[in-house]
C-alpha cells in the first residue's frame, strides 16, 4: 500500500498553476486540454488516484503553488521521471553515504583545486522512502513516503490526515520544533502539549524505539525504519 492522498480533489490545484506551465503557443482547445490534463496528472499527493476527478479549470481556495512547486508536484506523479526504481534507490543510498565525514574530508581537501565550472558531482536524487506506519487501535497499517516530506511538521500533518483522528491529536515533535509547529499549524488540533493521547515514535536502524523529533530531520531520515503512533500510556521508557 502506498501513502494515501488526503483527498484526491483535483480542485485543490490553483488555476494559476496551469497558466504558469508551458502551455503557451497552443490553440485554445489545446491549452484547455493541457490544463485539464495537468489536473489529472497532478493529484494532491503521491500515488495513483482516480482520474475521475478530471476537473474543468475550477480554481479553488486551496493551496496556491508557484511554478517552482510544479516540479515538486511533478515528482509526486508516480512513474515520472521514467527512471528505474533500482537506479533511484541506489543513487539515494549513495547520496546518503556521500554525507559521511570521511568523504567530506577528502572532498574538502580537493575542493580548492577542483575546477568549479562543473556541477556538483554528488547526485541529489530524491527517491522514495516508504516506511510503514501503524497506530495503536487501528488494525490496518499505512505507508508514508518520508522523502516526499520536508520536516517533522509535514510528517505530523500527513499522519494526521492519514489516520483522520481530529479528536485524538498526535504528538509529533518535541521541544523547539514544537514552537515552529504551533506557529505553522493550520489545524489547531495538531497542537501538542504533552497532554494528548498519542505520541509518535519510530524504530531506528538498531531496532530501538525512539520518540520522533529529537534529532535533526536529515539524521532521522537516515535511521528511521518504521513509525508507530503509540498511546501515551504505552510509550513508557521513551523518556517522555
Amino acid at each position: 500500500m502506498s501513502a494515501e492522498d488526503s483527498s484526491d480533489d483535483g480542485g485543490e490545484l490553483d488555476l494559476g498553476l496551469a497558466l504558469t506551465l508551458g502551455g503557451g503557443g497552443g490553440k485554445e482547445a489545446g491549452t484547455s486540454s493541457v490544463r485539464s490534463r495537468i489536473f489529472t496528472a497532478f493529484p494532491s499527493a503521491s500515488s495513483s488516484s482516480s482520474s475521475s476527478t478530471l476537473s474543468t479549470a475550477n480554481a479553488s481556495a486551496g493551496t496556491k503553488r508557484s511554478a517552482h512547486s510544479v516540479a515538486a508536484a511533478a515528482s509526486q506523479v508516480v512513474g515520472w521521471p521514467p527512471i528505474r526504481a533500482y537506479r533511484m534507490n541506489s543513487m539515494a543510498n549513495q547520496a546518503k553515504t556521500l554525507e559521511t565525514e570521511e568523504f567530506n574530508a577528502i572532498i574538502k581537501k580537493n575542493r580548492s583545486k577542483t575546477n568549479n565550472n562543473d556541477t556538483n558531482g554528488s547526485a541529489k536524487v530524491r527517491a522514495t522512502l516508504f516506511v510503514k506506519v501503524n497506530m495503536d487501535g487501528v488494525p490496518i497499517g499505512r505507508k508514508v513516503d518520508l522523502h516526499a516530506l520536508s520536516s517533522y511538521e509535514t510528517l505530523a500533518q500527513t499522519l494526521q490526515d492519514m489516520f483522520q483522528q481530529p479528536t485524538a491529536p498526535v504528538t509529533a515533535t518535541r521541544s523547539s520544533i514544537q514552537d515552529d509547529f504551533m506557529e505553522g499549524a493550520r489545524r489547531p488540533s495538531t497542537v501538542l502539549d504533552g497532554s494528548s493521547e498519542f505520541v509518535l515514535t519510530y524504530e531506528d536502524k538498531d531496532g530501538d524505539w525512539m520518540l520522533v523529533g529529537d534529532v535533526p530531520w536529515g539524521i532521522f531520515l537516515s535511521s528511521v525504519k518504521r513509525l508507530k503512533v503509540m498511546r501515551t500510556s504505552e510509550a513508557t521508557g521513551l523518556g517522555i
Binding site: 493541457v34 565550472n117 562543473d118
Partner: protein
C-alpha cells in the same frame, strides 16, 4: 525439399539463430516444422503470460535456453503494484517435472523466490547460465543454492535486482571443484561478502572474462583480483577509494597496466575524487563504459577520463558531464554507437546540466550513433531537426525532458516538428520515447513515417483520441505501446480492436478510458487478457461502466486469463 535427410536440414537450421527466422522456417511445411521443433534450443518469451510452461515444453521439447519477461515495462517506474505477478516458479517447476535439459535461464522483471532458485539448482545437472535483470523476491540464500549445486555454472549475472542480503556466505558455497565461471556479476548486492572466498573463486576460474563486484569490495581486494585475472575483458569496480600516496595506489597502478584485455568498464559505486588516474592505462582499449552509478565523479574528472577513451562504442554516463563534456565526447569518441545520459538530479529545477546543445554536439561528432537515451532539462525543435539530419541511423531514440509538457524554450512551440524530423529521417527507428509538449500533430508524423517502430512510450502528450488512432493505424510493426497521462479514451481504444492481437501488449494509465470501454474490448476479443489494476479500491464494489480506469494492461495470450492474479487485478 523432402529429399534431404533430416540431419542435413537440422544442420542447416543450426545456422539460423534468430528466433524470428526460426519461426518462419517452421511455417514452411510439416516436416520442416517437425525438424525445427526438435532442434530448437533457444526460446524467447516476451510475456510470460502469453503461453503456459506446459505448452512451451510440448512445442519445443529440446529447449535448453529460455528467456522470460514478466511485468510490464512501466513496472520499472513503480506503476505496477508489488504483487502483480510474473512468478517464475511455475516455469521452473514444469521444466523440472518434464525433465527438460535446461542450461540457461534469462529473466527480466520477474518475481524469483529462493524456492525457485533452489529447485532450479537441483533440477538441471547441466545448468550453465543464470541472468536476472530487474527481478526481485529472492535473497542471498537462493544464490547460495545456485552456487552450491550448479557444478558447471558459467554465468551468474545479476543486473539491477532487489535482493535481500542475508550477509551469508553464498560465495563460499561455490565448490572447490567449480572452475568453470566465465561471468560473475553481483554489483547490485548491497551487503558484505566474504572477500577471501571471492579471491579464491577468481583464482580457480581461469576462464573468467567478466567480473562485476559490489560496493563491499574494496580497492585492495580489487587489486588482488586483477592480479589473479589479468585476462578479464569486462570489469565492474566496487569501491574505488584510496589515498594517492598509499602503497595500495601504487600497486593498483602497476596491476592495471597488465590488464590489457579489459574492454568494458563499469561500477565505481563508491569513488574518491582524483582516484581515476589509475584507470587511464586501460582507457585507450575500452569500447564500453558505464559510469552512471558513480555520482562521486565530477564533470571535470569525467571529461579527463573520456579524453583517453578514443575507442568507446557505448557510454552510459550522468549528466554532470554537462554540455561541454558531451562536446568533448563528440570530438573524442568517433566510434560511438550508444549513448545514455542519466540525470543526477531528477527533481531539480533549473539545474541545466545537459540541454539540447550537448545532444547536437554528439550528433555532429558521432556519425555511428544509433541508440540514445537522453535525460535533459530542455529541448528545441531546431536541435531535433539538426540531430535528425546528422544521424539518420537511429534505431532507438528515447528522449526524456524532465519537466513534463515543456515546450521549446526558444519558440514556446510544441516539439511536434522536431520529433517529426526524427521519424522522417530515421527510417529504421524501432524504439521511440517522447516527452515535452506534444500535440496530435506529432502522432500524425509518427503514424506516417515511423513504419518500423516496434515499441512506443508516450507520457503527457497529445490532445485527443486522434493521436492514439494515428499510431494504431500507421505503425504497422508496433508490438508494445505504453501510455501514461494522455487524454486518450474509449473511441481510440475500441476503434481497431484486432490490432491488439498483432501486438504483444498495451499499457494505459491515467488516461480517459472507462470500465465500460475495457469491458467491451474484453468481450469482443477473447484472445486478449484485459487486466484492470484496481489499487486502493478506487473502483467501488458496484462499479459503473462510465467510471474511469486508472491502469489497464492488455496482452494477447494463448492460454486465457491467468490464475495467479492478485485481488486488485481484475481480468475482464
Amino acid at each position: 525439399m523432402n529429399y534431404f535427410p533430416d540431419e542435413v536440414l537440422e544442420h542447416v537450421f543450426d545456422f539460423i539463430a534468430s528466433h524470428r527466422d526460426r519461426n518462419s522456417v517452421s511455417l514452411v511445411c510439416k516436416s520442416w516444422y517437425r525438424i525445427e521443433k526438435f532442434s530448437r534450443t533457444k526460446v524467447f518469451i516476451g510475456n510470460c503470460y502469453a503461453i503456459s510452461p506446459e505448452r512451451l515444453i510440448a512445442r519445443f521439447p529440446g529447449i535448453k535456453s529460455l528467456t522470460l519477461k514478466g511485468k510490464p515495462h512501466f513496472a520499472d517506474f513503480n506503476l505496477v503494484p508489488h504483487d502483480w505477478g510474473g512468478f517464475v516458479y511455475p516455469w521452473i517447476e514444469a521444466l523440472a517435472r518434464c525433465r527438460v535439459g535446461l542450461e540457461e535461464l534469462r529473466l527480466k522483471r520477474m518475481v524469483v523466490s529462493d524456492e525457485s532458485l533452489e529447485l532450479l539448482s537441483r533440477s538441471f545437472p547441466n545448468f550453465k547460465a543464470l541472468v536476472l535483470v530487474s527481478c526481485e523476491g529472492f535473497t542471498t540464500d537462493g544464490l547460495a543454492a545456485v552456487a552450491a549445486n550448479c557444478r558447471f555454472l558459467r554465468e551468474l549475472d545479476l543486473q539491477e535486482n532487489e535482493i535481500e542480503d542475508h550477509r551469508g556466505q553464498w560465495l563460499n558455497c561455490f565448490s572447490d571443484s567449480c572452475t568453470s565461471l566465465v561471468s560473475l556479476n553481483f554489483a547490485c548486492l548491497k551487503g558484505e561478502i566474504n572477500l577471501a572466498a571471492l579471491e579464491r573463486l577468481v583464482a580457480r576460474s581461469p576462464n573468467l572474462k567478466s567480473l562485476r563486484v559490489n560496493r563491499a569490495v574494496p580497492l585492495e581486494t580489487l587489486q588482488r583480483l586483477l592480479m589473479r585475472a589479468p585476462q578479464l575483458a569486462d570489469l565492474g569496480v566496487g569501491s574505488y577509494v584510496h589515498d594517492p600516496t598509499s602503497d595500495a595506489y601504487r600497486k593498483l597502478k602497476d596491476t592495471m597496466q597488465n590488464c590489457t584485455s579489459i574492454r568494458s568498464l563499469s561500477g565505481f559505486l563508491e569513488v574518491a575524487p582524483r582516484c581515476l588516474s589509475t584507470i587511464y592505462t586501460i582507457c585507450p582499449n575500452l569500447t564500453s563504459m558505464n559510469l552512471s552509478y558513480a555520482p562521486g565523479i565530477s564533470g571535470a574528472e569525467l571529461i579527463k577520463l573520456i579524453q583517453h577513451c578514443r575507442k568507446l562504442q557505448r557510454i552510459w554516463i550522468l549528466d554532470c558531464i554537462g554540455d561541454k563534456g558531451l562536446a568533448i565526447v563528440a570530438s573524442t569518441c568517433k566510434e560511438l554507437q550508444e549513448l545514455r545520459v542519466f540525470p543526477s538530479d531528477p527533481y531539480g529545477v533549473g539545474n541545466a546540466a545537459v540541454t539540447e546543445e550537448g545532444l547536437v554536439a554528439i550528433s555532429a561528432g558521432c556519425p555511428k550513433l544509433h541508440s540514445l537515451l537522453y535525460f535533459c532539462q530542455q529541448m528545441t525543435n531546431a536541435a531535433l531537426i539538426t540531430v535528425a539530419n546528422n544521424c539518420p541511423n537511429f534505431t532507438c531514440f528515447r528522449l526524456c525532458i524532465l519537466d513534463p509538457m515543456k515546450p521549446d524554450p526558444v519558440t514556446s512551440q510544441p516539439l511536434d516538428e522536431g520529433y517529426g524530423a526524427i521519424v522522417q529521417s530515421c527510417k529504421r527507428i524501432t524504439r521511440l520515447s517522447l516527452s515535452g509538449l506534444l500535440t496530435d500533430q506529432v502522432f500524425h508524423y509518427i503514424g506516417m513515417y515511423a513504419k518500423q517502430v516496434e515499441m512506443l512510450s508516450i507520457a503527457f502528450a497529445g490532445d485527443s483520441d486522434k493521436s492514439m488512432l494515428y499510431v494504431l493505424n500507421g505503425c504497422k510493426k508496433l508490438r508494445k505501446l505504453e501510455i501514461m497521462n494522455c487524454p486518450f479514451g474509449n473511441v481510440a481504444l475500441l476503434e481497431d480492436m484486432g490490432k491488439y492481437e498483432t501486438m504483444r501488449s498495451l499499457w494505459m494509465s491515467s488516461c480517459e478510458i472507462t470500465l465500460g470501454g475495457c469491458k467491451t474490448l474484453a468481450k469482443k476479443m477473447p484472445r486478449l487478457n484485459v487486466e484492470i489494476i484496481n489499487e486502493n479500491n478506487q473502483i467501488e464494489f458496484n462499479p459503473e461502466d462510465r467510471q474511469k480506469v486508472e491502469k489497464m494492461y492488455l496482452y494477447r495470450s494463448l492460454v486465457g486469463p491467468r490464475n495467479d492474479a492478485p485481488e486488485f487485478v481484475w481480468t475482464l
